[in-house]
Amino acid sequence: MAALVIKDLHKTYRNGFAALKGIDLQVEQGDFFALLGPNGAGKSTAISIIASLTNKTTGRVEIYGHDLDRERDQAKRLIGLVPQEFNFNMWEPVVEILVNQAGYYGIPRKLAFQRAGEALQRLGLWEKRQTQARWLSGGMKRRLMIARALVHRPRLLILDEPTAGVDIEIRRSMWEFMREINRQGTTIILTTHYLEEAESLCRNIAIIDHGRIVEQTSMTRLLSQLHSELFLLNIAAPIERAPDLHDYRTTLVDSETLEVEVDREQSMNQLFGLLSAQGIEVVSMRNKQNRLEQMFVDLVDSAKEKRA
């Protein structure tokens, strides 16, 4: 059974702006799914409709087979949402925010305190449980929203920019946490502007632009569509100009950094062989641009051309 099925979802706001123009989407149970798109593409609107925060214009949403219109309670019990903006009572102690949320899902108060404690410990907020939410750091507030979304143990967790404004160390620990809950069976839908995050975590992906899905496929298949990749090579000894490497396009960024474009059909071994033959020793290498980012830009550009 699919965790989420969306059929022909439309949303037109009162001012006439059509945010969603007939979206079809299916997310399988246990998936770690990326929903990406530029700002204003319709991601947050779609998420808000799934989470019942926005009324749809037309279309159908099913959560684990429960229609959001006809079996509202059953569908809602299965969803957890970590929204983009902080949306908790800043004046309430951290533990009460979680206990209240659990209560809204029918979890008795005693059990709610127990669940809240577990969630706070897992997310490193136990020491702050009696602190008013407004005194938490940005990273802690993000983790509080994750803890709150998990307190009723949802089967579908939607993370809308969960690591925005979070430092790299906390971001990495949050990634590990998300992987862990996904391994335990929770289906996750992630929207993020950190495409490295989506590439690293997600198995499947949909790209939305101007209210339409422009691509929905597996991450591996999407990345395999890349025609070429740009690599930056750090070399051991300085050189004065870019070497001639036959079919490989090279640019000298500075005397110790070489940029090389490698087509999908070309081999990395052959590249290193050519460099070695010219006495150039490579110390390290990295992608100039995140691969998903490159693909994302290509897809959005091509959608723009089609619209034009």
Partner: protein, 259 residues
């Protein structure tokens, strides 16, 4: 697996508990001011001026105003609790915690209204205790007194809810209490019997719903009223029914809370 009713019951209890904890946490802002204000009313209007006024409807002036002052504090606090709390919920977007959860609209409304009634009741009890320092309060009908107390509190909690749904700024939640609620309360027979007014103003006063509540409550305590108690109860219940239906309609349409 829990059935929906068990979930609704716990959700309702959660909202009510949250609301009570909220106003108890800030008791200096929520419970203390009405106690101080009413004490001043008792001292100034009851003792200092009241002794010179003499009797009203056969009662000492201070005895006459006690029911109105108790009910006035119930009205103001039931209203204020719901309007400020629900507006805050919207403003900080944590209304989304409720919207995403399987909580039906009537549970949300019921939870906030009971929260408002809880504060109205607590303040009403405080004011009643304070009044005992100034008068010997004897109650004519406990049942009627309690009934009007609760119904009035429910009615104004509902009104506060509707105000909060429409409010977009802090001004919007203070305009109605300042320009509508306070005049209606002061002109609702708290401090005087409408028989003192010229005929036209008596007739106009009958359009003020607060008059019916104050008089019915006064009848419950003192056994005197300017109007028919049964008519008053029907009017109060009618208002509650209308405001309940209207509030639920606002919630189901998502006015002020959903795109």
């Amino acid at each position: 697996m829990q059935n929906s009713w068990q979930i609704y019951r716990i959700a309702f209890q959660t909202i009510v508990t949250k609301e009570i904890l909220r106003f108890m946490r800030i008791w200096v802002q929520t419970l203390l001011p009405p106690a101080i204000t009413t004490t001043l009313y008792f001292i100034i209007f009851g003792r200092l001026i009241g002794d010179r006024i003499g009797e009203m409807d056969g009662y000492r002036y201070i005895d006459f105003i006690v029911p109105g002052l108790i009910l006035m504090s119930v009205i103001q606090n039931s209203y204020a609790n719901v309007v400020s709390s629900f507006f805050g919920t919207k403003l900080q977007h944590y209304i989304e915690e409720l919207l995403i959860a399987p909580v039906p609209h009537w549970v949300v409304l019921g939870g906030y209204v009971v929260g408002g009634v809880a504060r109205g009741t607590m303040v009403g009890i405080l004011v009643t205790i304070i009044s005992l320092f100034f008068t010997d309060l004897s109650i004519n009908s406990y049942g009627l007194t309690l009934l009007v107390f609760v119904l009035t509190s429910v009615l104004f909690a509902l009104a506060g809810f509707i105000n909060a749904v429409y409010a977009k700024t802090f001004d919007d939640i203070s305009i109605v209490p300042t320009f509508v609620l306070t005049p209606l309360t002061y002109l609702g027979g708290v401090f005087y019997s409408i028989e003192l007014l010229p005929e036209f103003w008596q007739w106009l006063s009958l359009a003020n719903p607060v008059l019916y509540m104050v008089n019915t409550f006064r009848f419950g305590i003192l056994g005197i009223s300017d109007i028919d108690v049964v008519v008053a109860l029907v009017i109060i219940l009618g208002f509650i029914a209308i405001l309940t239906v209207y509030s639920l309609r606002l919630l189901s349409r998502g006015v002020g809370i959903k795109e």
